[in-house]
């Protein structure tokens, strides 16, 4: 059968070994037709040819195409590794595709810094990021180690946690940081001399010039580009910058809109403003967000807003219900007065803007869910999809209530691998640690959910989150919460259509259905077919974004 319509310029059919659509009506296919960046037809080659298309691109014939992965909680700061060398404990791809090996000891760190210093003019700052000493069994990093790398440059090692930096003696001298410095957060050796540790941004800011370099990177165009490349290399086709202030600055917003619109920008972006300040400024923010939204284009959407309500579990700053943390001092604090949360969220809810609220602790999830209940009593918006993001320690009762209220959860399931052992042994203990990010229970209850990496907190890429949710293994080989493991098909939907749903973008992305963007992740293997423990190792060829192939630059 042939079409009566002539083909349009640029029409193309891609064939593949297998296409996984994330569309339960037609879960698999072998060909997909694209017109104007959208899915024209998906099924067999014959189905697709009904549109009269003669251009058939067979380059993916031995590959697996899936509905493009959607990341509903990551940060543009992912691109900071375009500027600052990465020195983390788990190796990682840089935005330009280079693979950087793990830094597994203090000596290796010093060696890296020495190499960097050798290429720099003396006096010019060396800022490196992503250092993660939590697994390091060598001596605690101090200024003395860093002095071995160079005494001619200021060195600022920004740790992965974001809560600590270690500097060398050059920095200590430059800013007159000596014994008995009045700032809390300056670390000392036993003899009273500073050891180079600067805890929390307040102390890090003592190293003024180096700290300011970190701050500037947020708005640097290289950072945004680096974000896009990192996401594409990881096979993500829609990536969220969750919680920015772009809408506050016309200049910045304009740059972001222009950068993302370029054909070379390799990912569709959801830009999510963060709720700031007190209730009196909120109406103004709502109107700014609505105005900014009118400038959205195909590759830049502003579907929801974010509120940050507490800290992190490993930092002991998440607000956790009784009985609290098993070790360490409880630093859990709400970032907004709980009784003010309803007032702060009401204008968004009323304006029909979805809300993603950062809740790591159980207490925090409770406050957010109660606030949404109140808002729904006042104003019946049934399709709100308000989302508890992180939701790591959410209780079963909270999940049942959230489900009844039509809410959604975005689990930080990578934590099981990256910090699960710490949670089991130090933060909340084995019972609650094994119930963290409870995907299977959410399914039993019927609560809608997705996964996120919070990149750069954990590396971008959904094969890893799927792998973590399916296996729940930890670096030393235990299975943390076997009853919360889920099937690979469920995990695949979590990182595609369910993530799109939370962003109110499921009519545009998240599955391969006729009329939606032709966004696909291109894989060398089928994650359903490989051994469950090998899901995260499935090679990513790249993506197809709006019908246009975009090959990963990641070195294998």
């Amino acid at each position: 059968m042939t079409s009566t319509q002539p083909p349009h310029a640029g029409d193309v059919i891609y064939t593949a070994r297998l296409i996984r659509t994330a569309n339960p009506s037609h879960p698999t296919a072998t060909a997909i037709a694209v017109r104007h960046g959208k899915v024209l037809s998906v099924g067999t080659l014959e189905d697709c040819q009904q549109w009269g298309i003669t251009t058939i691109d067979r380059q993916f014939e031995d590959k697996v195409l899936t509905a493009g992965f959607v990341e509903a909680h990551s940060h543009v700061m992912t691109g900071m590794y375009s500027t600052f060398p990465f020195v983390g404990w788990f190796g990682r791809h840089m935005p330009d595709g280079r693979w950087v090996d793990a830094v597994k000891s203090t000596d290796e760190l010093v060696e890296r810094l020495r190499t960097i210093a050798a290429e720099k003019e003396s006096g010019s700052p060396i800022v490196v990021a992503g250092f993660d000493p939590i697994y390091l069994d060598t001596e605690r990093l101090s200024c003395h180690h860093l002095d071995e790398a160079t005494t001619q440059h200021p060195i600022f090692v920004y740790h992965a946690s974001g809560h600590l930096a270690t500097v060398n003696s050059f920095v200590l001298n430059k800013y007159d940081i000596g014994p008995n410095h009045p700032a809390p957060g300056v670390g000392y050796h036993g003899d009273g001399q500073p050891n180079g540790e600067l805890r929390e941004p307040a102390a890090m800011a003592l190293a003024r010039d180096e700290f300011r370099l970190l701050g500037r990177v947020v708005f640097a165009p290289e950072t945004l580009d680096g974000f896009g490349q990192t996401m594409r290399n990881a096979g993500i086709t829609t990536a969220t910058d969750l919680g920015n202030v772009f809408h506050n600055n016309e200049e910045v917003l304009k740059t972001v809109l222009e950068t993302t619109e370029k054909e070379s920008f390799p990912v569709r972006m959801a830009s999510v403003p963060r709720i700031l300040g007190g209730p009196d400024g909120i109406d103004e923010m709502v109107s700014r967000v609505l105005t900014a939204r009118t400038h959205s284009h195909d590759k830049m959407h502003m579907p929801v807003v974010k509120m940050v309500l507490d800290g992190s579990i490993q930092g002991f700053t998440a607000v956790v219900n009784w009985p609290g943390y098993i070790t360490g001092e409880d630093h859990g604090l709400f970032l907004f007065p709980p009784e003010q949360v309803v007032d702060l969220l009401r204008p968004f809810h009323q304006a029909g803007i979805g809300i993603h609220c950062h809740c790591n602790g159980s207490s925090t999830s409770g406050v957010f869910i109660d606030a949404i209940e109140q808002l729904l009593r006042e104003h019946a918006w049934l399709d709100h999809r308000h989302t508890i993001t992180h939701a790591q320690l959410i209780t079963h009762a909270q999940m049942r209530k959230a489900k009844n209220l039509g809410m959604s959860a975005n689990f930080f399931v990578n934590h099981v691998w990256f910090w699960g052992e710490q949670h089991r042994d130090f933060t909340v203990g084995p019972d609650r640690a094994s119930a963290m990010n409870p995907c299977a229970t959410a399914d039993r209850i019927g609560l809608q959910y997705s996964f996120h990496t919070d990149s750069p907190v954990t590396p971008a890429g959904h094969l890893h989150t799927m792998w973590a949710a399916v296996n729940r293994v930890t670096p030393h080989g235990s299975v943390l919460g076997p009853n919360e493991r889920i099937e690979v098909d469920r995990a695949f939907h979590a990182v595609t259509i369910d993530a799109a749903y939370q962003l109110h973008m499921d009519h545009l992305v998240g599955s391969l259905e006729v009329g939606k963007y032709a966004d696909m992740t291109v894989l060398e293997q089928d994650p359903y077919e490989v051994d469950a423990m090998a899901i995260r190792d499935v090679p990513v060829w790249g993506t197809i974004l709006g019908g246009i192939p975009s090959k990963s630059t990641a070195q294998r």
Partner: protein, 279 residues
């Protein structure tokens, strides 16, 4: 290297509704110095714009509910931007958010160019009993009180004496050695801002709870001795300010806010020392 003079930073904290905004408005309207006010809640501080223009004060909006977390938009960046100005303020007043720990906010006051004057924490006389016991924010309340160098119970005229005395005992048990005053926002504002020899009447003339002493000849061998001298003031001295000469002729601006003492370099002439005490 001669140390550059450092701008004093006063942190005003306290749970939501404790009267921080009123206090800041009072500070702006009564102060004679050039003040930069850093507010946490944009829009929530209904600071009278005309006051700001007339007095060349300004407010700077912080862009985050938690002013001490996000890199690139932290309080540090706000303070750096203050130093970038051509006309520096004489004092920086930071309003901590209603749930912030003032100690975490004050931690920023030690970056180059600033010094920390103290944390004044307000306690809402009408709500403190509930807030202190609230399962969600009781701990926040305690941390705020414990971070104070000077505590002030506000709205005491709106609560019964028995409630106020209960609030007093809760607050004192949390922070037994921190001076506690029961006063209006206007008085508190003068107490912070308008302490100077010969102009001290602002605080004491209309208020019977305080008395003022001026020590006109204070001299000290060095900073260490000066610090020890100030430390030995009786605990009812809630505020002190003045410029003192050291043996080598250098001068120091001395400030005491409640339980905290700060000493900084100054070029200004000696003034003697004004002490304001609770009667």
């Amino acid at each position: 290297m001669t140390p550059t003079p450092r701008i004093p930073v006063l942190v005003i904290g306290g749970y939501l509704g404790a009267g921080k905004t009123t206090l800041i408005n009072n500070v702006l309207s009564s102060a004679t110095q050039r003040i930069a006010v850093v507010v946490n809640d944009f829009g929530s501080v209904n600071i009278d714009a005309s006051l700001i223009r007339e007095r060349h004060n300004d407010t700077i909006e912080l862009t985050n509910g938690c002013i001490c977390c996000a890199v690139g938009e932290s309080l540090a960046d706000v303070l750096f931007s203050i130093l970038d100005r051509t006309e520096l303020p004489e004092v920086v007043v930071i309003e901590a958010s209603g749930v912030a720990n003032p100690a975490a906010v004050a931690a920023f006051a030690h970056i180059e160019g600033f010094h920390h004057l103290g944390n004044v924490v307000l306690v809402d006389g009408t709500h403190a009993l509930e807030t202190s016991k609230d399962p969600l924010v009781g701990r926040t309340f305690s941390l705020q009180v414990q971070a104070a160098h000077l505590l002030a119970i506000t709205k005491s005229d709106e609560a019964t004496d028995s409630v106020i005395s209960e609030v007093r005992s809760i607050v004192s048990s949390l922070a037994p050695s921190t001076p506690l005053v029961l006063t209006t926002s206007a008085t508190l504002s003068s107490l912070m801002m308008n302490v100077a020899p010969h102009a001290d009447s602002a605080v004491t003339a209309t208020h019977t709870e305080f008395s003022t002493t001026t020590l006109s000849h204070v001299s000290a061998q060095d900073e260490k001795q000066l610090f020890a001298f100030l430390q030995n003031f009786p605990p009812n001295v809630v505020r002190a300010k003045g410029i003192v000469e050291l043996a080598n002729g250098d001068r120091r601006l001395v400030q005491k806010v409640g339980s905290t003492i700060s000493i900084s370099q100054t070029e200004l002439p000696t003034t003697g020392l004004v002490l304001i005490s609770l009667k």
